[in-house]
């Protein structure tokens, strides 16, 4: 009798597990299938890409789509331009943001709480409010049509990253710092030689976020960049869509080239990604 029940329990548990996997798989298909189609269409001939019913496996395999993209769009140049925005963004996220974050976390000064409140409010400020006057100012000083409007503001550090890093610095015990202060260490030395090494995981998180933000940004380049020589991958891809929208093989090849680095980065920095996202959400 008792073996019968335990068998039934085991059977029920197994069914439960199988159902769980089944539901998870069906859901995951909806999320992953579009990307598989992106990849497969990037290797299809144009005849096959618009075939009904749709087919997932390319036949024949057209590797040329990838090289053809470069004939119509200077992807390598777009890539270099994108890096010229991505690198300052990552720098701005790591150095100026962590300086301010450390100060907000540890250095006492009159007005600190008020300034921190202002910083928090700017995180919720819709970007559109500042966009028009900024565009006018940048146009007046001759920056529109250069990369500068996309680079200079990020060098000041971003409120979001400052907030994130501050939360992290708050969790570091003060003992080391107190000892250093008693030894006559200045705040800058403490930031540089104690806090930065301890904050490596948080800095990596912020760097990954900054990379993604700059890599994916579309509105900024759309508004500020002038001619095709300055286009980033986002902007180049959009122009490609509007000029060669019907050449699906090439379009998906170009899209794959833009997505792939992000996915590779995700796999290398998975832990920091997840950590960063949870850090933004948990302390709501």
């Amino acid at each position: 009798m008792s073996t019968g029940t335990s068998q039934r329990v085991r059977f029920l548990k197994a069914t439960k597990r199988v159902t769980a996997h089944l539901i998870l798989l069906i859901g995951a298909t909806f999320f992953v299938l579009p990307l598989l189609f992106m990849l497969s269409t990037s290797l299809k001939a144009s005849r096959q890409s618009a075939k009904f019913p749709p087919e997932l496996i390319p036949n024949p395999w057209i590797w040329r789509n990838y090289s053809d993209v470069f004939i119509y769009a200077p992807m390598h140049r777009y890539f270099v331009n994108t890096l010229r925005i991505v690198i300052p963004s990552v720098f701005g996220a790591v150095i100026p943001s962590s300086l301010a974050a450390y100060a907000f976390a540890r250095v006492r000064a009159p007005g600190r709480e008020a300034l921190f409140f202002i910083l928090l409010s700017t995180m919720m400020l819709p970007g559109i409010v500042t966009l028009i006057p900024l565009y006018i100012i940048f146009a007046k000083i001759g920056w529109v049509g250069t990369l500068r409007p996309l680079v200079v503001p990020v060098l000041a550090g971003s409120p979001f990253f400052i907030f994130l890093l501050r939360q992290f610095f708050m969790t570091i015990p003060t003992e080391l710092e107190d000892a250093a202060l008693i030894d006559g260490c200045g705040r800058f030395r403490i930031w540089y030689s104690i806090m930065l090494p301890l904050a490596k995981p948080a800095l990596a998180t912020v760097a990954v976020f900054a990379f993604m933000g700059a890599w994916n940004d579309y509105m900024g380049p759309l508004i500020y960049l002038g001619n095709r020589d300055q286009y980033t991958l986002s902007l180049g891809l959009q122009v490609f869509v509007s000029l060669h929208g019907a050449e699906w093989g090439m379009l998906m090849a170009a899209s794959t080239m833009m997505v792939l680095p992000v996915i590779v980065l995700f796999f290398f920095a998975q832990k920091n990604f997840i950590q960063g996202i949870t850090m933004t959400g948990i302390k709501g």
Binding site: V32, M38, T41, A100, Y102, T122, I128, I136, F266, G281
Partner: protein, 311 residues
């Protein structure tokens, strides 16, 4: 041994003053950036909204004319309605999708890291690439989505080519990127102490009882945060729609959202005063909604009485 403690008299500045100076030096880059790129432009944009300015002639003060014109502009209402439509559907649906997946992923079954990655990756696909991909998938005649719908005997809508289906199509694309919110929920779910569920088991609570009385109340702070940010961000949806509709917000303005309309007025017509007024109206709408949410939070957001100190 030459610290300030050893010979405080010789120090010209008191330690607290030195601290204050370091503080302001440390935050200087942000402070300058804040003044130049945030505070200045906010004030500027408010001033600008009371002028007529086309970037050629000097700005001319026109009082509240821009606001009057705006409230008589049919496209203003169209774009506001399209945006509200998308916010009303995309935000709750996105939260429900993300929450359901997070619940599924919070089970003790093997292969979770693989599933988690699968659900998460679409949310990091750049907006432009995502738009290009979905243009392909949503093609009415031979697209993959309609292929699936036809295969199971459902009607195949015109999606981005249809006035009725274009907004749902965009919401579908946005839902595909629910993974970011999902990760936030998943972390929240994993923070819920197992003991609470065990206690609920002893009380004879079923699956729904546990969801309703344990999980959801404890998740309300996280849900509140994602709701606030979701509304702020969705009101400013731009890139995905701009690329999907080639900058037009079509067909026949059915996906003309607020920011696409601002873009058109600012960078096609160069009506800078008018767009500054538009931006301020949106700002006020978002601000009111955010304040309302904070004011009503006490009715449904549950904060543990003791527990982690709130920062």
């Amino acid at each position: 041994m030459t610290s300030s403690i050893a010979k405080p008299r010789t120090q010209r500045l008191s330690p607290s003053k030195r601290e204050a100076i370091s503080f302001y030096l440390f935050i200087l880059p942000w402070l300058l950036g804040f003044i130049a790129f945030t505070l200045g432009p906010i004030v500027g944009s408010l001033g600008l909204s009371f002028t007529r300015y086309d970037m050629m002639l000097a700005p001319k003060f026109v009082g509240i004319e821009n606001y009057q014109e705006l409230f008589g502009d049919p496209l203003f209402y169209t774009s506001l309605w399209n945006t509200v439509y998308i916010v009303l559907l995309a935000v709750p649906l996105g939260m429900i999708t993300a929450f359901s997946i997070a619940m599924l992923l919070n089970q003790k079954v093997g292969g979770m890291p693989v599933y988690r990655t699968a659900y998460y990756i679409p949310s990091i696909v750049p907006a432009v690439a995502s738009a290009a991909l979905w243009m392909y998938l949503l093609q009415p005649q031979w697209g993959v989505i309609n292929g699936i719908l036809k295969a199971v005997g459902l009607p195949a809508p015109g999606w981005l080519a249809s006035r009725v289906w274009a907004k749902p199509a965009i919401i579908l694309v946005m839902l595909w990127g629910s993974g970011g919110t999902m990760i936030i929920y998943l972390a929240g779910l994993q923070d819920i102490p197992e003991a609470l569920y065990e206690a609920a088991d002893i009380d004879g609570a079923g699956r729904w009882g546990k969801l309703w009385n344990v999980t959801l109340p404890l998740m309300t702070p996280t849900i509140f945060f994602t709701l606030i940010m979701g509304i702020i961000n969705t009101f400013q949806v731009f890139s995905i729609i701009f690329v999907l509709t080639d900058g037009m917000g079509g067909p026949i303005n059915s996906t003309l959202v607020y920011l696409v309309y601002i873009y058109r007025k600012a960078f096609v017509s160069f009506k800078m005063g008018y767009t500054a007024a538009m931006a301020w109206v949106l700002f006020v709408v978002i601000l009111i909604l955010t304040i309302l949410q904070f004011k009503t939070a006490s009715l449904w957001v549950y904060y543990e009485a003791e527990g982690k100190p709130s920062r």
